[in-house]
Amino acid sequence: MSDGTATPAVVRVEGVTKTFPRGNVTALENIELEVAPREFVSLIGPSGCGKSTLLRVIGDLIEPTAGTVRVNGKSARQARRDGGYGIVFQEAVLYDWRSIAKNIALPLEMLGWSRRRRRERVAEMLELVELTSFADHHPWQLSGGMQQRVAIARALSFEPSLLLMDEPFGALDEMTRERLNLELLSIWEQTGNSVVFVTHSISEAVFLSSRVVVMSPRPGRIAGFVEIDLPHPRTVETREAPRFFELVTEVRELLRRRGEHLLPEEEAVLE
């Protein structure tokens, strides 16, 4: 924001194409996407349409075949070097040799936080994901959903200005999922960061987002956008508002119109 470009987008993806040489798969084709400051963008689309790939391109974990990605006005590479984002992968990526607390503390260590600050923040985060009593356990002692909560806590711990989340709540039960949805929203409202969020759940996308990006597969393209104009703060009642259902239907229509035989939920079940 300091470098005064015309539109201070947090993420700007321009004409990005990604082809994997192995199997010659075009995972993404000519993607144009901008994420404004404080925006919460959800990516939704059938399995294999390139959502994870797009996230990894934004995070500079893989390089696009064509096109450019800028994050906070810098190249994606520079942004990564500056610790510009936190990421949660589709599966919990934990380090077996570190305790739960130490897994959460890892990015803080890398950022050079003092031991005391680290301990305090880790305690807060453990409380947030309700894993305080598991601080000294090792990852193999936790269930899949618990592991995913650790990964979420770790990504949130250093309050990055950009959060990239790949189906973070996919492995959780409905109750935990709704609670963490609310927690994520309140964190987002407090810290004012931007979020790019991948999900298979239309209602989750609508509930959380400022904007939903619908993608279509083979090759991965953006099929359309749905602006979510639900008021903030969003609460349990938001899910019961008539407008909520209208928006859910709108996203569903957009997904269906792209010639997909299956609804995303059904796809998700089939996985």
């Binding site: 990894r56 995070g59 500079d60 974990l61 990564r80 070097r81 500056d82 610790g83 984002y85 936190g86 990421i87 992968f89 599966e91 990526v93 380090y95 077996d96 040799w97 570190r98 305790s99 890892l106 990015p107 890398m110 950022l111 090792h138 193999w140």
Partner: protein, 261 residues
Amino acid sequence: MTLRPRIGVVVEWLPPLVVFALVVGLWEGLVRALHVQQFLLPKPSTIISVFWTQRHVLWPAGWYTFKEALGGFAIGSGAGVVAATVVGRFRTAGQALMPIFIAANAVPIIAFAPIFGAWFNPIQPQSKMAIAAVLCFLPVMVNTLRGLQSARPRQVELMRSYAASELEIWRRVRVPTALPFLFTALKVASVLSMIGAIVGEYFGGAMNALGVTINTDAQIFQFDAAWAGILVASLLGIALYSAVVVAERLVVRWSPEARVS
């Protein structure tokens, strides 16, 4: 509450002890009952008593050979870890060199034992250390390299997302991943080093070395003494192996096998 761990200890130790008692008892009984000549197989009781009466010869001899084995173990394993680190750092070099190491690993190094005796003075412990070191080097090197290369791609990617340098990724991800591989190799190497030292001594060594003692005893048909010497060698081998196991439990504490409460 206090009973629990005791039961655990009993469950862990009882079966091996029972097996030990059974095997030794059977051995003793059969040798007595069938009047097996002692050059074929002495009784355990005889072996133990010689183990004790000859302690002034056998134990120092064992210690002498153990030092050779330990030296070879340290040098060979150390060199193996260093080599794996260097080769792992340069991927293309590693891929080009890997077939050589695999082939070298298939060579019966033991056949080269007499040459080490000719290279170094066979009376000096260095020649035995050299064999033990060469025997230890390859498994440690190959396994460590495999360990360094088996970090999960997503774990490395996450470190990249934190802008970690290659060095940091190496320290925080690759090394911890490689540790269980390293210890597997060190266990193998601990046994090999002792065998290497004794085989080396077979082709000539100091008079007070265990391998030489066993060999001489066998040649003059003192089989009870030879078996007592073999017992010393096994005990020392087991001691070195156990030391590695303990070190593994201390270092690789996170793994499910460590089972710390």
